[in-house]
Amino acid sequence: MRKIVITGAGLCSPLGWSLAEAREVFAQSRSVISVSPISSPERPRVAAWVDADISVGLPGSLVKTADRAAVMALQASDRAVADAGLTPGSFDATRAGVFLGSAIGTIHSVYHAEEALFRRGNMPALTLLKVLPNGAASCVSMRHGFKGECTTFAVACASATTAFGAALRQLRLGELDVALVGGAEAPLVESCVLAWENLRMIARQDIEHPETCFRPFAADRTGVVLGEGAAMYVLETEEHARARGARILGVLQGFGASADAAHITAPQQEGQALAMRKALQNAGLGPSDIGYINAHGTGTKLGDATETRSVIDVFGDHAQRVPMSSTKSAHGHLKGASGAVELAAVLVALNDGILPPTLNLNEADPECMLDYVPNVARTGVRVDAVMSNAFAFGGSNCSMVVTRY
């Protein structure tokens, strides 16, 4: 079976725009959650967001026909391609694909189009182009000339992780040599945030101390803090990467998916455990080979307790020894992009020996009794294999295993 390696990383996220910037945030045990751009005195809010000009360096013809999530995906893909040293002519464009996940896709443009409809009596002329769910992947494909395949995955919070699984299959099958893979999400508009708030999913908002709001696995956790951003990676067959002398950041060793087939929101231990077992089997590894788990860890009462039970189910005694953290406490929940931005934490663990912490974990919950790397990053840790979990509304579960090269 072909080995599939990661050779480039690019972000446009609250953590920064590169793996190095993300590493700094994790190493400093810092949160990048702040007062939301749509906070108001009536509705004080916190969020993790990209406080920068996201159109910088991009052609207007792309930026002006694309949703905010797509523009962030473009920035991330530019950086991933540069990081990988992938230059035109160094790969066969017809064997290069794009795989991108997004949960709520183009809600940013939908919101602004409807706002214009009420204000001006008409929709902006390019609305249809901006609200196409496959817009972000298409923009990335056009920008980099990847002609082999261009597919979008909408699997709620497991969207990006699903994209990695799909890319892994196509690369292993020999259908492609190289792929740009990741996720993008831009949910910070009034309608979308209200929808989450009305579902009682959002953490208690403390705009005086935004960095303390997201508390996965803690007894006093109150839910999710929303985030926006994109992360993209260059994946290649090992043969292709070595032929062009690429630096290798890690190996996408295995992927597993499952469906709960039970409830639209309530996570199920059986389904989560099945996804993790399938990922381990696909990777050819056992539970004791995993040295760190990047948890889904959304800070909900039911979600964190279920994930803990699922990990104990799969890992047995090793569950008590393997460190597991939710980096969402630092960068918010990027929904469909979460699996992609969290791959940055995975690569930092593998390559830098830094285990990013679960922040704001001061009070232990009796239902969450594992080692969640509380509050302070662990350094100097040798990790050879990491599991990353993404469990979605709708009961779609995904896990992937990434190993040191």
């Binding site: 013809s61 002006k64 026909t65 001006r120 902006p124 002329a125 390019l126 182009l129």
Partner: protein
């Protein structure tokens, strides 16, 4: 209300932003179809012009419309709005 020179500069700036070119590179364009922009970009640019001046361009603009005629038309629409 903007004068013709000011308006022409603003229009070309907006169109250029959809065409990935500098506004100066379009200075010699006689008609709208001479501008280096595709139909999607032109739709976006028209929309942005409408938003900028809070107007509706309406019908009657064709690829053969000259840039000068377009500026005159815009001036007339803006003037009518402020009349």
């Amino acid at each position: 209300m903007p004068d013709a020179t000011e308006l022409r500069a603003k229009i070309l700036e907006i169109i250029a932003s959809y065409a990935n070119v500098e506004p100066q590179s379009m200075a010699d364009a006689k008609t709208l179809q001479d501008l280096p922009i595709d139909s999607v970009g032109m739709l976006g640019a028209f929309d942005e012009i409408e938003e900028e001046y809070d107007i509706k361009l309406g019908e009657g603009i064709t690829p053969e419309t000259t840039v000068d005629q377009f500026v005159e038309l815009l001036q007339a629409i803006i003037a009518a709005k402020h009349a």
